[in-house]
Amino acid sequence: MAKLAFYFDSSRCSACKGCQAACKTWNSLPSPLGQDENPFTGSYQSPLDLNGDTRLLISFSEVAGGSKGVEWSFGRRSCFHCTNAGCVQVCPSGALAHDEETGMVRVTEDKCIGCQYCKYSCPFNVPRHYGYNDKINKCTSCLDRVSHDRQPACVKTCQSETLMFGSRDELLAKANERVAKLQEQGFERAAVYGGNELGGLGLIVVAHHGIESLSLPANPRISGMVNLLDILKPLAGLGAAAVLAGLGVSFLTGIGYERHKLRYDEETHDIIDDETNEVLAHFDFDEEE
């Protein structure tokens, strides 16, 4: 389980997108800067989803707010750094792995071979790929900063204490306290997300309008087919070994065997052993005709 974690409190987020910009800045991720280069999407959410250049996105949802009319529910869309991470499970090259010290899902871009299996194994549909060789782009939890005792770029820039980073246990306790307080304040659907999902997530979310408002799956699961893939590999080895062993025995029993030459006699329609002159088979072509 992750030892460290992100904390995101939707009740404090003002959707300033400072985290989104800081992520791009620190990680040198390009963004269209010219006038009208970002197409209008009909939403303040921009871009509409994660992409090869965007690993962190503030999502915008409208929630019925009772007497207050419509309220916003802002969410953080990025890697959840799952303990049971489908992406780590399927990565064939070791590009994705859990960082031993923090428990976050580390990206070693140099090792990425662009197969995109991670994208299709992630219950949150987070990994994206970029460039001609389809390298992965996802939140790295700024391990390059964290390893030097600095906060991830998004956390460092957050002014409203929406985002925090630190001990997972402490942040989970904080999230539970916060939810209890929010419920007292009338946010009945307030909930913590990430405590136990997929073995515990490395992103703890306080959803003050409930997890549905952030479009988070209630019970995220790794596809059974992904688990089946793990079984197939030893099965392939076993199958190959069994076939080779069987053929090895066959080869040994065949050593030294010299077949007698055979010939065909068109007059008698016989297959004849050339060495013993024994008739091995006779064909009745004339009768058939």
Binding site: C91, G114, Y120, S223, M225, A240, R259, H269, A281
Partner: protein, 228 residues
Amino acid sequence: MARYIKRHSLQARITHDVFAVSGILLFLTGLFVFIPPLADAAPATTVYVIRIAHRVIGFIFILVPIISAILAPGGFKHYLSNYFRRWNKEDITWMKKFIPYMLAPKKVHMPNQPELKSGQVVADGALMLGAIVMAISGLFLVFGTWFVDLSAGLMVFMRLLHNIGFIWMIVFVIPHIYLGAGIFQPYRKTARLMFGDGKVSESDALYHWGNWAAEEFEKGEKVVEEDD
């Protein structure tokens, strides 16, 4: 002088050989994705090149038999008819005796067979089925990552299918090479059929496909005489 039967045309041999070599290359390049420690050990650029090579070779693997079938529709029809022929008692006896024969070829004698043995129908048919599964699932994996955005469930399913096809192919390709390359003693010289001039000697033809060889000797159209 010795007699031979012309069994496989040049086009059939080229089709088979390109298909076989590309299949082996697909197996080797595919290992770098199938076995993570292999990809982990090699530089990412190398693995990337291997992965792209896997896809390019994959297209050759798919296109060559299709082109061949288009170029020779009659031959393709004849090829298919061998797989969908009616089985007789000798075919069933051949199948029953196959494993004992593989383990004791000196003692177990197989019944005469037509142009395609019943065992070949099953084993080569299984190979073709595996190749079709690999081709279709492979195309989905290529198009789903390069050209269109397919659903995650479909992509994982296709990868699963590709892996199952891979195991299936391992189980049938290894014996195919063992027999086809003539590693098994009674099958010596069979490599010549597909990787040589496509001719089979009188003795080998009668041993492997007795019914077919007898018919060919009666007709005489494909029979040639050569120096020993």
